[in-house]
Symmetry: C2
Subunit: 406 residues, 2 copies
């Protein structure tokens, strides 16, 4: 049977009224294909649970922390199954344990390994809409894990990939992907389509609509994803698998501006330049499951080099500890840790065939007295690390410069 995965975020199931509205959306979707539902916790619930834990211990045992915060999705899944039942749609809720959603054992940052689909298929064959708890899994030992903030998106895409679903619809409180954050730039425009690669870059750079890991997953398994609002009808933004055609490329060289404020820049100055230096610095950090972004290594000068990278500021304490313990034997002159930075990225598949985007961006920022401290480029993205205080202005300048408001 053709299936469609529908994922509802925290605000979409934030109240009983919202849950009942979501039940109606699912009932309607059942006309297109058989729905498999993935839910987040009711908005505020995960934070409530985290606060209870923090009242006891700022750094509680991770196994218990995951056991605690994974209860929120069990609540919303059961409530949604009840609301579906009331709306005349037979339904059963499933926890990650019940469908053996196996993950790695990195608590709070676990990665999905595989899913046992027997129960979901049984449910579908008996005309029960399965409602699955997002955000969580279990280890081989049966311990509950969580996938990190926004992990419900990953659950949804993983289920869609494994079930070879028609599409994965991510319902949220925004009606699609915009050229940049409309809260910051009121002229920002909704995109009807976006390529998976662009979405990946936009998401990774802080477009908060969808979790980056989920987009990667969708990309890897060719799952078509649509982002849309559960609050208002609309077609959202389709994250397409196909390349845009040449007409589209001519029209939009740059498709969006992303930004992220809570960044920390870590700089090892005067590191002894020897083969494997990058992996000896980044290896212990990656081992903790921490994502490292813009990485820059200067040209070596007298056998020494500067090695700089950025991390999300929430990982700062852990990275600083690693720098001061596992990396203390490293031969370097200075360690500089700077919280005071943000990232702005220009994203667009069309950039591949257009030279001059970078210089045009640098010129526009220079005209507005915005200083660039790090630059990293890929085929479809240019990322600039700048002072945190310049981020808002840089986004506005670039959005206007590339005529995204037109």
């Amino acid at each position: 049977m053709e299936t469609i995965v529908l994922k509802f975020g925290g605000t979409s199931v934030g109240t009983i009224e919202r849950i009942e509205a979501v039940a109606k959306i699912i009932k309607e979707a059942k006309k297109e294909a058989f729905p498999i539902v993935v839910v987040s916790a009711m908005s505020g619930e995960t934070d409530r649970l985290i606060n209870l834990a923090k009242e006891i211990d700022d750094n509680p045992p991770k196994r218990e922390f995951d056991a605690l915060i994974s209860t929120g999705e069990k609540v919303s899944a059961a409530l949604l199954a009840m609301a579906l039942h009331k709306a005349g749609v037979a339904s059963k809720s499933y926890s990650a344990a019940q469908i053996s959603m196996k993950t790695t054992s990195q608590f709070s940052k676990a990665k999905i390994i595989n899913i046992d689909f027997t129960k979901i298929e049984d449910a579908i064959n008996n005309d029960f809409v399965p409602v699955i708890t997002g955000f969580q899994g279990i280890t081989d030992e049966g311990d509950v894990t969580t996938l990190g903030r926004g992990g419900s998106d990953t659950t949804a895409v993983a289920v869609a990939a494994a079930m070879k679903s028609l599409r994965c619809d991510i319902f949220t409180d925004v009606d699609g992907i915009y050229t940049t954050d409309p809260n910051l730039v009121p002229e920002a425009k909704k995109l009807d389509r976006i390529t998976m690669e662009e979405m990946l870059e936009l998401s990774g750079q802080g477009a908060k609509v969808m979790q980056v890991r989920a987009v990667e997953f969708a990309n890897k398994y060719n799952v078509p994803v649509r982002v849309l609002s559960s609050f208002a009808p609309g077609t959202g933004t389709l994250i397409s698998l196909e390349e845009p055609n040449m007409d589209d490329m001519e029209k939009a060289v740059v498709s969006g501006i992303a930004f992220q404020k809570d960044q920390t820049k870590i700089s090892f100055q005067g590191v002894k330049d020897s083969p494997g230096i990058a992996s000896s610095i980044l290896g212990p950090i990656a081992a903790e499951g921490i994502e490292v972004d813009v990485i820059i290594q200067n040209i070596s000068n007298e056998g020494r080099t500067d090695f700089t990278f950025t991390i999300s500021s929430i990982d700062r304490d852990v990275v600083e500890k690693i720098c001061n313990t596992q990396l203390q034997d490293l031969d370097f002159n200075n360690l500089i840790i700077d919280n005071n930075v943000g990232k702005v990225s220009i994203v667009g598949v069309g950039m591949r065939s257009h030279a001059g985007i970078a210089s045009r961006a640098f010129q526009a920022l220079a005209n507005n007295n915005i200083n660039i401290s790090m630059i990293s480029t890929s085929e479809i993205k240019i990322t600039l690390v700048i002072n945190i205080d310049d981020v808002n202005n840089a986004v506005k300048v670039l959005h206007h410069e590339f005529e995204l408001d037109k």
Copy 2:
């Protein structure tokens, strides 16, 4: 290793402050034997979840209802494991699913079948205090079930029985078992010891300290149980396995007065008296897991008899439906359903060898103009069904009559 099961009710883990106090009690108890902990949900949490469900549907699908309300214990178990960790006691929380606590599949009224102790024993061998979610289990299919209100007591006693623990300590917000409810009779006295049979009768008749099924379980598997307060130090009331010695018996013929107000009396008048009449009436009711108490059948008169029994008023709707469907083919004249009744019970092992307790009770009630509508006696208990409005007064009269305040 010698183990002791410690069970903490909802008020005992009602706040983070209380959870931290409970961690200290467990740390102290570890000096006596290795603790295995069973917890209820934080007080108010189960009601909060029930209210969310009721907002959707007054009669939600039972599988989903149990999936929903079982999350409360997962929260308190994880929080208590964190608090133990902070207090320097290594600990791991376990859900019913994680220790394969198998139950029957009667949702909301499931009965424990067996427990897989591998994980608990592993935890103990590695010096982790296991904290187990009370009140819940799983079916063979992996669906979550709950054991009914107060089911955490049953979980605790079942664990103690299976682990052959030294004792099961039930921590609650009262400091022991009283001769009757001190809220109603201020002169009520705390009992240091009580026999299992007396406790069973007191509990079954509405002494709300411990769930009746838990006491039955303890009785069946010879688990010594102690009821005590987590709020104030004390030795509580030990529910002993041994018979009281003759000295005790001479001292206290009656050990307590129990009462229960939310009762419904069901009366089939003029039933055709034939073999198996009782089971044909009570069979369908028992099949729904509903407990039937005082059962009275009159002597047959011209081939017809009156068959009367009481149930808890919360089961009234279900029982009434059974009477009007499955029992409608029964040959009888009248069905009378009366919500307006309560039960008062005089309990005491010493009653076995003392005649005259019943007549003394009847006389005392008559002197106070209290009419008795049904009487049921066992070796250690006399239960009287009376008008709901007379219950408070009857308890006071009987408590005084049998000098329980002395």
